[in-house]
Symmetry: C2
């Protein structure tokens, strides 16, 4: 099956290739009769524009790369949908990659995106050093960092997780819990660390001693890890009465396991989550949690990237910080 190019279309419609291209890209320049003839030829032959050729010629591409940390966490997929929505309204396409938290895979993603000539990248960086950012930037790519602090030079959009941590632990303290625990994944610099910092600061402000807050670190932030966390938690003596989990998946696993062990939530132990994913509402005990504006996060990130990609000259880098908010349900 021979591939149909603009050439065949031109032949069939009895016009030049230039005219076909005009029909495709600037239809108003073409006389109506001609336009219709060309459209017809396109339909009959089943012509599909070759995006590679188009990009090659144009230099730029209306495509953005998005590198997410994982698809397993609904938080990320919600962010992704926000980004996708923004791109669709502006006629951009997205190339999705997941780094799965691995530096090597992240590098592979970026290489792939660069070869694909995306005009910008939205990324939740795992092992991304300033050097690589600068490199991408030098090559003319718009770069937007998601949920990572930056010291200028790039656009970034993040949620104030220190505030989030304060809100979460603050809520427990307001309810007079005096022995608390923080359940988390690896404390790498970034969102998770910030939540910890916020929690610590809230504890300190409430006059709690160092030892009043136990931190349980797990390798992952999954429901399964939450389940394990519940077991470790129950071994603690004295038993904390308030638990702040670094994300909702952890919290859900933890609450479920506590219930199974006969520990009542919130009567005996209160739990606060983080993210406010859909499942938080439908959980066994509807989860009190800290809502992140996930959709907006994705949307704004994509919008910033598109703006920079479309007009790199007059673009000024912005660091957007969004605020989290407490959602009180039943678990605390």
């Amino acid at each position: 099956m021979p591939r149909i190019s603009i050439r065949e279309v031109a032949m069939r419609a009895g016009v030049s290739v230039g005219t076909v291209s005009n029909v495709l890209n600037r239809p108003n320049l073409v006389a109506e009769a001609t336009r219709e003839r060309v459209q017809a030829a396109i339909g009959e032959l089943g012509f599909v524009r070759n995006e590679s050729a188009r990009q090659l010629r144009q230099g730029r591409s209306r495509t953005l790369g998005v590198v997410l940390e994982s698809m397993a966490n609904p938080y990320f997929t919600d962010v992704a949908r926000g980004a996708e929505a923004a791109m669709n309204t502006d006629g951009f396409d997205a190339l999705w990659c997941t780094s799965d938290g691995s530096v090597a895979k992240e590098r592979r993603c970026l290489d792939f995106l660069e070869e694909q000539h995306v005009s910008g990248v939205v990324i939740t960086p795992v092992g991304l050093d300033q050097g690589r950012v600068a490199e991408l930037h030098d090559r003319g790519l718009a770069v937007v960092l998601l949920d990572r602090r930056t010291q200028g030079g790039v656009c970034s959009i993040r949620v104030d997780h220190v505030a989030g941590g304060e809100i979460a632990l603050g809520h427990l303290l307001d309810r007079h819990h005096r022995r608390v625990a923080f359940v988390t994944g690896p404390l790498r610099p970034g969102p998770v660390q910030d939540r910890y910092t916020g929690a610590v600061s809230a504890a300190r402000r409430a006059g709690l001693g160092e030892s009043a807050m136990t931190t349980l670190v797990h390798r992952e932030m999954t429901p399964t890890a939450g389940k394990e966390a519940a077991r470790r938690l129950l071994d603690l003596d004295p038993l904390p009465t308030g638990v702040f989990c670094a994300n909702d998946l952890l919290a859900i696993g933890l609450v479920n396991e506590l219930l199974r062990k006969g520990v009542k939530v919130p009567a005996e132990i209160c739990v606060v989550g983080y993210d406010d994913i859909e499942l938080a509402t439908a959980a066994a005990v509807p989860l009190t949690t800290v809502r992140q504006p996930r959709h907006e996060l994705g949307w704004s990130a994509a919008t910033l990237a598109m703006a920079e990609a479309s007009a790199p000259e007059e673009h000024e880098h912005r660091q957007v910080v969004l605020s989290p908010a407490l959602v009180v349900r039943e678990s605390a």
Copy 2:
């Protein structure tokens, strides 16, 4: 910033463009000294291959499109990871799209993939008619249908959901439940309908009358819908003692809401889910469910697509059917 092309590299290394291309693609044809000089130039200039130009020239592309129904359901993301793993081992790249169950968006995805010149498509079709499949096929694309029956002409890989439905309801019947319910999303032809068919057939075989199984249809298959389903379920009179949910998310929402209403699972009502997502293990009541080989599903689909894409001539279309299996935990 001028983009670095093979030309600049050639100049810098003091060789011709052809040689640089050889270093990139057939390094063994190039003398070691030259090769090293070129590699050095590539490094110094930060050259990145322009994939558009490459594809344009080569005609083919080592890229596969994957169109999934949704990113919100962990089931799909697990399938996706299986597919990605297979592609990575064979040096293929993936372009991800989600149709979100919308026919229009599905069409947009396919248009996008075709313009990107992918060499094959793995798809969970929503509104895909035979015509569109044939069209893609005519244009030389390898097509693999995921989780959809086909009458030859294309590769497909699916799970035997009729068997799955039978297993699920069969399990409830084996445990002597005589009033049962099937909770589901829209009964469109496909996996969901098949599960229903399986359930009905199991019921019939056990000699249950038509009215012994109530079917509750919801618009979505989310935990939130499961929550609603619980409310509707409790209105039923007589109350079913066994419930089969068309996926785990529904089941989880349903179980959680039942617990909240003080209904004991499995003591008063037994629940069987479908999919065996990670959350099934960590649920409030660990879920008895029907496991699908998700990873294998994705892996095999990608493998089939790559095989067809690499050697279209000698390729024979295959219809693979995988078997689901019951995983007994605590909910039933």
